[in-house]
Symmetry: C2
Subunit: 228 residues, 2 copies
C-alpha cells in the first residue's frame, strides 16, 4: 500500500485589516529550505490529526486567537512536484479572515512574524506567492455574496467600520449612504445590539453584530459607486 506517499502540511493565509490596510501574516523561515525567506505560516499535519484541526492548531499557535473569533476555510491543495525541494510535499492551504488582534502576535518572536500588505509580500518561499494570490482572490469574491466581511470586525462594530472592510479589501470607495441602506436591509447580515459608539468625530453610530445569514440576498456587488 505504500505505492506513493507524500508529506502533508497545512499552510495558512491569515488576513486581517491593520492600520487601514489588508495584511497577511508572514514568517521568516529559520531552517532550510528557503532559510531566511518570508513564507506563509504552516506546518506538518500530525498523525491522527484532521486537516481542519491542523489548520486550527496552527492558527492558534501563530496568533493566539481562537478560530471562532474569525473565519477559517479550506482554500485548496497544492502538490506540484518540485514545489518543495525536500521531496513530495502536498500542502493543504487554509484561508482565515481575522479581526485586528489586540496583541501583535502571541507565541512568536516579533522579528520572525509580521503583518505585511500583499504588495510587500512577493518573493515568498515555495509556491506561497501563488497560494497568497489565490487566497486574496477568494477573500475578495466571498465578500460579495457572503457576510464574511464581519469576520474582519470585532464582535460589535459600526456600519462605517464594516464599510471600511469592503473599501480596504476591494480597494474602492463606496457611497456611505447606499452602503448603509444595503447592509441594513440585507436579511440576516447584521443585527443592532442596541449600543452606540463614538469613533473619531461626528454623530455616534449604532453598534451591530453579525447576523445569522450564511449567504447575502441580494449580494453586495462590486460595481458600487465611487465617491468623490
Amino acid at each position: 500500500m505504500t505505492l506513493n506517499t507524500a508529506a502533508v502540511t497545512v499552510d495558512l493565509v491569515l488576513l486581517t485589516i491593520r492600520q487601514g490596510a489588508l495584511r497577511v501574516l508572514l514568517i521568516t523561515r529559520g531552517i532550510p529550505p528557503h532559510r531566511g525567506k518570508w513564507a506563509l505560516p504552516g506546518g506538518f499535519v500530525l498523525p491522527d490529526e484532521d486537516l481542519d484541526g491542523a489548520a486550527m492548531r496552527e492558527l492558534r499557535e501563530e496568533t493566539g486567537l481562537d478560530p471562532r473569533a474569525g473565519h477559517l476555510e479550506q482554500l485548496g491543495a497544492y502538490g506540484t512536484p518540485g514545489r518543495d525541494p525536500r521531496g513530495h510535499v502536498v500542502t493543504i492551504a487554509y484561508l482565515a479572515l481575522l479581526p485586528d488582534l489586540p496583541a501583535p502576535v502571541a507565541g512568536s518572536d516579533a522579528a520572525l512574524a509580521a503583518w505585511r500588505t500583499p504588495e510587500e509580500s512577493t518573493g515568498l518561499a515555495f509556491d506561497h506567492d501563488r497560494i497568497l494570490a489565490d487566497g486574496l482572490e477568494r477573500a475578495r469574491a466571498k465578500l460579495e455574496y457572503t457576510p464574511l466581511a464581519t469576520a474582519f470586525c470585532p464582535p460589535e462594530f459600526t456600519v462605517a467600520e464594516l464599510r471600511e472592510v469592503y473599501e480596504t479589501v476591494w480597494r474602492t470607495r463606496l457611497d456611505p449612504r447606499n452602503f448603509h441602506r444595503k447592509v441594513t436591509t440585507a436579511e440576516g447580515f447584521i443585527e443592532p445590539t442596541g449600543n452606540t459608539a463614538i469613533r473619531d468625530r461626528g454623530r455616534p453610530a449604532q453598534l451591530f453584530r453579525r447576523g445569522p445569514a450564511a449567504l447575502l440576498h441580494p449580494p453586495l456587488l462590486r460595481g458600487t459607486s465611487q465617491r468623490g
Copy 2:
C-alpha cells in the same frame, strides 16, 4: 523529514446530464476495503505527477473524454484520520461538469461503472457521500455566477438546452422567456453560431457556443420564477 507521510489520492465527482437527470459516475470497488460497494472513481497520484494532472488522467481513463470538452476544478482535500482503513490517506477531490457522452463509459467494464442520480447514490464507500454532497453544492452554486452550465452542453446548443441544464441541476422550472432574455443579454455568456436546429417540435432555434466570459454579470439568481 519523514515525520509524517500519507498516501495521496485523487477522487472525481463527474457530473453530467443524461436522460433528463443530473447523474454522477460511480464505480464498484473490486478490491478491499469496501469491496463491492459503490464509490467515486479515483486513484493514487503517481510520483512526479501534478494533482491536476492526476485528475485529468483519471478523467480520461474513466470516461475516455478530453478534459477540455467539459470543466474540471479542484473541489477540496479530505484527510480525516480513519477515512480509509488502510491508514493515512489524504484525497484531493475534483469536480467535473461534462456533456452527455456519446459512448457510455470507455475503457471500463459496463457492470463496474454507472451514471447514477444523486438520490440513488447514498451509502458510498469511504467518505464519498460527503464528497459527492460537496460537489453537488459547488456545482449548484457555480451555475449562478459563472457560465459553467455550458460545460454540460455539446459545443453547439440551443437556449432551451441550456435552460434544461439549469432546471435539472437546480430542480426548478424557469420561465423560458425571461431565461432567454437573461442569457442572451449577459455579456460574453453565449455567442450565436449562425446555425439553427430543430430539436423535437416547434420553431427552429438558434445555436450558440459558450462565450469568453469567466463570470456572469449580472448573475443568474436562483430566485427565478416557477412555471405552472
